[in-house]
């Protein structure tokens, strides 16, 4: 129950202001199609340099939570999911809006998001310390396999093609080795002076997540999206709360499904929303109403995608394995403040860990309160022409990458990685495993070298890395995740895309 002692810090003036700003800003950014939660958090990281670690994390955490919820606004009012996590919301939410129930759909989405989100954060609060203590037993070989597990799980589960997902992870691991070797001081793959200090993670994150979005907007050309905002009539929040309470099955299935999916590294909010929607429909006595503006569809999808947020941070805060691409960006935010996840975080920086987690709990309530009022404004912002959004994101990327170390080299690296990632994405590669490789690469390498030294002095490399219960378990999970994804791919696995949801 340590978390209770750190609630006070959340309400200190600056922290609360950042929480409020992050929540309101996140709701607006989340509603803007083309600005994903991952990209929003990546663009915010440079702004946290001048803040204390805990304040920076509060801002990033608030933005993460509320961008996911904010995406429901454009999903309901514009039929454009603000983020992939809101695809399932579009199915019934927009129909409700067209039937004159836009306000009710928005209220239900924010209330369900808050319930799911609070449950998810409570899971984070009670699971994290247990897993962090367990992580103390990990030696270099286990940490090496954990880092590899992080890359392979996201590489295989988050990508449409297992081979391309794993290849993306390999590219990320290779990029992480560029620069000077830590032990021998040898130069590795430095083919341009800008790479002398290695690839800066923050500049890389901005490039990999923001620049492909900019180029995607350019590729659409001079075209008006023509999305029409549906006006919303007034609706009593109390009625919406009653409606939510009348649908405990949808709320329960959404919340539990989202929480479980959040705990699995690599399976994002998009899957959480769609699985919860599907399961709720299966167990509903009003199956025929789904897809025609049924409130259960909105409740299930939104409670699931927000319930996923807290648990997705459990593997990150305990084992350094981000549960989602956004969690990977948050890991970058932690590392720049010199904080390493795991038992170190809870033993040496409990104030940072618990204040951050508590702020997410308070953030869920703020998100629910402000979401209802900001929805109208957010829907207007969502209509900002793509040309303006592209120009804003490009300029923010350049300034953000430069401000990391006041280096033009970082700006060049950001642009090159971003342009390269755009074309790689067009060929079926995915940014998430590449980012994971880039972030977990140094952890994997240092433990590989350290483990190798221990092995040479004791039982030998093969015995050290390939035997022992935990090593075998981790290797089995790596193999199982790849095998499962390959099997699913052979069965022509397909996810519902944003375009399909809008159609």
């Amino acid at each position: 129950m340590d978390f209770i002692f750190y609630f006070g810090e959340v309400f200190s003036p600056l922290s609360f202001l950042l929480l409020l700003g992050g929540t309101i800003g996140g709701l607006i950014l989340g509603a803007t199609p083309g600005l994903s939660p991952t990209m929003a958090v990546a663009l915010l990281i440079p702004f946290t340099f001048h803040l204390e670690a805990v304040q920076g994390l509060i801002l990033l955490g608030a933005a993460y939570t509320s961008t996911v919820a904010g995406g429901a606004v454009s999903a309901i009012l514009l039929k454009i999911p603000g983020a992939p996590a809101n695809i399932a919301t579009t199915l019934d939410g927009h129909k409700m809006a067209k039937q004159g129930q836009g306000a009710k759909a928005l209220q239900l989405s924010f209330l369900a998001s808050a319930v799911g989100g609070i449950f998810g954060v409570l899971l984070l609060i009670f699971l994290t310390p247990l897993l962090a203590q367990w992580a103390l037993a990990f030696g270099p070989s286990h940490l090496f396999w954990l880092a590899i597990l992080g890359v392979t799980v996201i590489g295989s589960l988050d990508s449409a093609s297992v081979v391309k997902g794993l290849l993306s992870g390999c590219i990320g691991l290779w990029l992480a080795t560029i620069g000077f070797d830590d032990i021998m001081g040898a130069q590795r793959f430095i083919f341009h002076p800008s790479l002398g200090g290695g690839i800066n993670i923050i500049a890389a994150l901005i490039g990999l997540f923001a620049i492909p979005q900019v180029l995607t907007m350019f590729a659409k050309g001079r075209r008006a999206d023509g999305a029409e905002v549906i006006e919303v009539q007034k609706h009593s929040v109390l009625d919406a709360t009653r409606e939510l309470l009348r649908r405990p099955r949808a709320l329960g299935i959404g919340t539990i499904t989202g929480s479980i999916i959040g705990l699995i590294p690599g399976v994002g909010g998009q899957i959480a929303g769609l699985v919860a929607y599907d399961q709720t429909k299966k167990f509903s006595s009003e199956k025929e109403k789904f897809g025609h503006g049924h409130s259960e569809g909105v409740i299930a999808a939104e409670s699931a995608n927000n319930a996923m947020v807290g648990p997705s941070l459990v593997p990150l805060l305990t084992l350094s394995i981000p549960g989602s691409p956004t969690a990977a960006v948050l890991l970058g935010g932690l590392l720049i403040h010199g904080i390493f996840p795991g038992s170190d975080l809870f033993d040496n920086h409990p104030d940072v860990a618990w204040t951050f987690i508590n702020s997410m709990l308070v953030g869920q309530v703020l998100m629910c309160l402000f979401g209802l009022y900001v929805a109208g404004l957010a829907a207007r912002v969502a209509q900002v022409p793509q040309s303006v959004m592209a120009a804003i994101v490009l300029a923010l990327s350049v300034f953000g990458a430069y401000s990391v170390q006041s280096s033009m080299g970082d700006v060049y690296v950001m642009a090159c990685l971003g342009i390269g990632m755009y074309f790689l994405e067009r060929f079926g590669f995915s940014a998430a495993p590449l980012v994971l490789g880039l972030i977990l690469g140094p952890i994997a390498e240092s433990n590989f070298i350290q483990g190798g030294m221990i092995a040479d002095a004791t039982v030998g490399k093969s015995a050290y890395f390939l035997t022992g219960g935990l090593n075998i378990f981790l290797i089995a999970v790596v193999v199982a995740s790849i095998a499962y994804s390959a099997w699913m791919e052979l069965r022509s696995r397909r996810y519902t895309t944003k375009e399909e949801a809008q159609a």
Binding site: P46, F47, F49, H50, A160, S161, V163, K164, L166, L167, C170, I171, L173, W174, T177, I183, M184, A186, R188, F189, V214, L215, M217, F218, A219, K220, G221, R222, R223, A224, P385, Q386, S387, V388, A390, A391, I392, L394, A395, V398, F399, Y402, S403, S406, M408, V411, Y412, A415, I419, F423, L424, E425, R426, F427, G428, F429, E445, F448, I449, G452
Partner: protein, 151 residues
């Protein structure tokens, strides 16, 4: 999607993989390249597999870049390259941002080019945006950016 696009894309990745493997296995000291060798081996195998599939026309994932998309993107991409690799440093961040932002709006804004008020709107949006960026980065965050022309 065009098979040749898949071959080109996966071929480039395969070429990078071969280069990474070659550097990893030939550069000294060998101890510094232990981990890169491990990665390079997997990298080359996976990239070779992807290239082989593309060459056989079996690549299914990824829709590539259509001619229309590419033509739409060229002006913006070119402007971005000039902005990042030359203008930001040569003209100064804020001047380059103002010019780049305005050109991007003019190139991609769906509003008609023939109406005077749309041009006024673009100028106003650019001015407000650059002022916000200046306030945020120069004043609030105290980031010193290259300043060559004007500010």
């Amino acid at each position: 999607m065009n098979r040749s696009q898949h071959i080109l894309g996966s071929g480039l990745v395969f070429a990078v993989g071969i280069w990474v493997a070659w550097v990893s296995y030939t550069q000294q000291p060998a101890e510094a390249f232990l981990f890169p060798r491990l990665i390079a081996s997997v990298f080359v195998v996976l990239a070779g597999w992807t290239f082989g599939k593309a060459a056989l026309g079996l690549s299914k994932v990824g829709s590539g870049v259509s001619r229309t998309m590419f033509l739409n993107m060229v002006p913006g991409l070119s402007l971005m390259l000039v902005y990042v690799f030359w203008a930001a440093k040569a003209l100064g961040f804020y001047t380059a941002t103002a010019i780049g932002f305005f050109i991007l709006l003019s190139l991609y804004d769906p509003a008609p080019h023939s109406e005077g008020k749309t041009w006024v709107k673009r100028v106003l949006i650019t001015a407000v945006f650059v002022a916000v960026m200046y306030g945020l980065f120069a004043k609030l965050l105290s980031v010193y950016t290259p300043r060559e022309i004007l500010f």
